[in-house]
Symmetry: C2
């Protein structure tokens, strides 16, 4: 039963041409053995179809005693062995990762194409490793100005007064313009790599029941994978 | 620092009219005290702007010993005290909920409007309660045919052979058409309500640093809330 991934049952309301009484079974075509290859294909297409946030993912962590939390983040870099994220090391998720270095990612790409509704999901579970700032320098460098200011003025999740915050922002911003500088990276910016032990791909379109491919990693470097098809 | 919610730093690549050197501070305007009201406003607008999956959310659970998992689902109904989901009671998440009835939801609505990129996120943490099937009958009834077939033929997450699965699907589908019937709800379909203890709203647009409103519940029925503004 696909309610877990049942993202396509509103198709009739959202622009699919398919009649409501139609029914079928989607099929993921993939002849490779490495799920990173399939991820790259799907991620590439999500970028091509002009989605607003093709790099957005939901990142879930939990405390050691089992309280889950989740929030959206951006994929900052895709390495051959994992998914690189950037955040504030003083945040709730960083505290959770420090005591329980496990994470779960979920990407969702929903779009219309050639009269069809397409829903693709990739789920990734794995361990979370710290990366040194120095190995992610290019990520910081391509941040736009306002993100660099934000990284410096926001203590993520801490109480803030909007007017005070605005004054601080404006002072940073004006100084950057006046001096023609950009803020440097603060120490509290941290980078993580999620190294997957499990990856799952879900495809549904129109009134077609979802198809799912699950990959379990059998080594510790995310290189050797066992694939299976599972019910939606 | 807003990397957690830093969903808008690709605006320049994705259709925002704003120059890359611009910077500002977004502001959520809300004069009420109940976060469900703000949720309804944002959810309503997400439906109006013709997003493909305005009801999609990422649902995270974890095992008792702290292994997180996440997947996208659909919001099936919004009650005054919680968020109703539907799934297969034999799934991984149902096993996790049975041993650890806590859940975390995250909605993300990213869209273009009037030359701007808007990113809104709502995060919801709370306890998960089982609902009787009988209290959710209307949810089942509005499922399209193919979803009703899916609920009957899919044992979620279990290995499946595509060709076998297709034959089973086709036989159900042909019988429905021939007999002019729809499949009834199987026993393993379960409904959950996530009753929030925490809700958080995030807004960012263009090159504006995100604003966040956090609501903490101070009673057990999701009625009394304490609101605060926090850094992105």
């Amino acid at each position: 039963m696909g309610q877990e991934n049942g993202l396509n049952d509103k198709n009739a309301q959202n622009g699919s041409d398919k009649a409501e009484t139609e029914s079928g079974l989607a099929r993921i075509e993939f002849s490779g053995s490495n799920p990173f290859q399939l991820f790259r294909e799907w991620h590439g297409e999500a970028r091509e179809v002009n989605l607003v946030s093709p790099d957005a993912l939901c990142f879930s962590t939990c405390s050691k005693d089992g309280v889950p939390s989740s929030r959206h983040m951006l994929l900052r870099r895709l390495d051959d062995d994992g998914f690189v994220l950037m955040t504030d090391g003083r945040s709730r998720k960083s505290n959770e990762i420090a005591e329980n270095p496990l994470g779960s990612l979920a990407f969702l790409w929903s779009f219309r194409k050639d009269g069809s509704i397409i829903n693709r999901q990739v789920r990734i579970d794995g361990r979370v490793e710290d990366l040194p700032q120095s190995s992610c320098q290019e990520i910081w460098e391509r941040e736009p100005l306002y993100c660099k200011i934000r990284a410096n003025i926001c203590d993520q999740g801490r109480p803030v007064d909007w007017e005070d915050h605005k004054r601080i922002h404006d002072s940073w911003y004006e100084e950057c313009l006046r001096e023609n500088t950009v803020p440097t990276i603060p120490d509290h910016v941290v980078y993580y790599k999620v190294i997957p032990t499990f990856m799952e791909f879900y495809l549904a379109h129109d009134n077609f029941i979802g198809d799912r491919l699950a990959f379990h990693c059998t080594d510790k470097d995310a290189k050797v994978w066992k694939m299976g098809r599972i019910a939606a």
